[in-house]
Amino acid sequence: MGKSLKYVVGTFIFILFSVLILSDVQVLADGETAAFFGTEAYEWEWGISSPIGVYARSKQNIDTFEMNVVYDADMLEYQSGGELIEPGLVKVSASGVGLAEYKEMLSFIPRIAGNSAITIQGLHIRTTSGETNEVAATSVIVNVPIPEGCALEDIRLNGESIEGFSSVQTSYSAEVAADITQAELIVSPSEIQTEISDTFLAVGNNVITITTTNSEGKKARYTLNVNRLESTEQVMDQSEEPAHAEPAVVMQGSNSAAKRNQVVFTVVMVVLVLLLFSLIILKINLMRKNKEERIRQKRRGRQANRRAAKAKIRHEQKADRAVTEKTPKIRKDRREVEIAVNHITMEFKREKDEATSIKELFIRTIKRQRSYEMFTALKDVSFRIRKGDVVGIIGTNGSGKSTILKIISGALDPTKGTVEVDKRKIQLLTLGTGFDFELTGRENVYLNGAIIGYTKEYIDEKYDDIVKFAELEGFMEEKVRNYSSGMVSRLGFAIATIRDTPEILILDEVLSVGDMFFRKKSEARIKEMIHSGSTVLIVSHSSSVIKNNCNRAVWIEKGRMRAIGNPAKVCAVYEKMQEIS
């Protein structure tokens, strides 16, 4: 369960990351080229000419650009700065700018006080490198305080006061029931001169303006956004809506829609980031939990191991006795020859003072200084190993033991001589090699098993046996890096010997390592193999290992075979030689 959950969480984190990156990239891509105003909001005075700065900016230098500035022609009177196309629309354009940012000051005179919007639409920028960009519309709110004598004290919509009404605020929103088709507005003070726009209410949003005029002729405008609720019976009549909306209001609507989009976007981003973080935390927690679980299992495993080990020692001691007693007398001639090593000579072409770099090699080749030295690792070695033999190969370090193993297992071709052996039967066991310490025990079982020739199905089947034999229950999800050397040897031994009958088993310095328990156990297992007819080849430089396990011994020294025969005798000669030197 833990594993699949981990994957699910991992996938989620990945998807989230990609979504975040995607949206980020898009924001950055759009954000650079822009149209904007000098400030975020304007406060103007009624009847006084007021400036507003409109800007166009691009990532690269602007060559030409053009933009339309849309304003409410009722409320504002255009004065200067651009080119008046029609009331409510001013065009600003320039060519040959050569700068990354362009600014134009426009000025307007407010004719009606209240809130209105100025919008930059259709900004086209052509950069000096010939790229053209089109930029989305942006709006700014202009607020003109209500002059004296224009302020209303109260507005009643269908008999009810507007919520939160104050005489300085000029825009409000209200909601009416679905069955109300006409807004009835009563404003006070009633002596003030007011002009009210169409009060018919369509379903959805309706804008009603109340324009007041004082004795000096100054005007102010209150805006009411009335939302008529949708009824279930009534069919929405969409077509009526735009008819009632004035241009300025449409702009405001789109402005607020853009703002709403921005808010939604921000919220979505925040939620995604939070989700991402919570998932990461969840994942980390999961891992910690797994670790704790493993530690607990380890503790349990250790206790169980101790108990099991005690029991096993008792059992094995009995078994040992039994095996030694039952081993039959060796009758060589009847058994078939499993490995025949015929007059093997192995020569390495070794350069004197070997060139380890290409430069050196190159220089020497030119100077004809490449002198070879034939190094003879093995000279005319031949012996026969019969089925069921346990043969020890003994010799000091560098005497050619490993070379002969490589030749027998087929990794090396000899210079002279032949080896007759069915290479498929050979199982070479060297401990601890081939383990990847960064992987877990389980992963190493599969990796190592694959390398020594087990199929996946076979490992699946034998996995539990391997773990049990290695006494590593509860450790298999742990990285091998954290194993003790004894544990590594046990696992290696278990993987290599789990195969039913490896017909030829070659043990390279295996029996001299490992702890006491393991040595007992591995010796028992090897004896078991001997009993089942396996041919075993043990390589060691320790004579005691050979004496205890083998029925024949071969002593190789400096590439030559010095003695073959009874282990006790061979070892005695070997030891004598060692004492002399």
Binding site: I13, L28, A411, T430
Partner: protein
């Protein structure tokens, strides 16, 4: 063991070795395998952000131009660089094994291919970000990748053999790779160059693969017949040369190791 079983076993070994390489790479991190997609994705995002500011004038859709070249380049260098050292890295295993040593090289190249798979996830996301239109010519890209893998395998065989005998092949190769990279037009347009350099790039087999990939992905056109012929010849030719060299020296490699 029959031939088919043997193949199956080799394939299992390759998968296990590959799994080991990939698990190893992120074995000490919390996010583990997620990094193998996250890593290319993040680096691609950064590269696109940086490069979309620098070279955008001269090349259309520069980030994709760069990334296309880069994933091909990464596949090649990832495969050859890791396969070069594989025999020495797995010294202890080599004695134990009962299968041809080529398996180790195949496993490293396959690892690079799997890594390419992860990068492709990120790459496809980038294709969407930069609004590259999908076309049926993209179906040709596996062929290009297959031929490139053959080419990389051939080079890997040669390098792995050489590295066993001379450790400095590794350093030499890294220098050659630097030169090779600049001659592969990964981040600049070829048309800007003239003369000898231009000829060198045009005849560079890796540029051949990169260019064909760009044609298939970005331009929506198939590579020309001469492109395909050259890619095939390079791929198969180098593969066989490498294989031959490796086999000839197999015994020497064992002795040396």
């Amino acid at each position: 063991m029959g031939k088919a079983e043997e193949r199956k076993q080799y394939w299992f070994v390759i998968k296990e070795l590959t799994g080991r390489e990939i698990k190893r790479k992120y074995s000490r991190s919390y996010l583990g395998i997620v990094w193998s997609v996250l890593n290319p994705l993040l680096s691609m995002a950064i590269i696109s952000l940086i490069f979309s500011q620098i070279f955008r004038r001269s090349i259309e859709n520069f980030p994709i131009y760069y990334l296309t070249g880069n994933i091909i380049w990464q596949l090649f260098t990832g495969a050859t660089n890791s396969a070069m050292t594989t025999l020495v890295d797995n010294k202890t295993l080599l004695i134990k094994v009962k299968f041809p040593m080529q398996i180790f090289i195949l496993a490293r190249v396959y690892t690079a291919l799997v890594n390419l798979g992860y990068s492709l996830v990120a790459y496809v996301i980038m294709l969407f970000v930069f609004k590259v239109t999908l076309g049926w010519t993209m179906l040709f890209s596996p062929v290009i990748i297959f031929l490139l893998v053959l080419f990389s395998l051939g080079i890997s065989y040669i390098l792995a053999t050489a590295y066993v005998f001379f450790g400095d092949v590794k350093h030499l190769y890294s220098i050659i790779l630097t030169l090779w990279m600049y001659l592969s037009a990964i981040f600049y347009p070829v048309d800007q160059l003239q003369g000898f350099i231009h000829t060198a790039i045009i005849n560079n087999p890796l540029f051949n693969y990169i260019d064909s990939m760009r044609k298939v992905i970005m331009l929506g056109t198939l590579p020309t017949v001469s492109d395909v012929v050259r890619m095939t010849l390079w791929g198969i030719g180098v593969y066989f040369i490498g294989y031959h060299i490796f086999n000839k020296h197999a015994n020497g490699i064992m002795q040396k190791i």
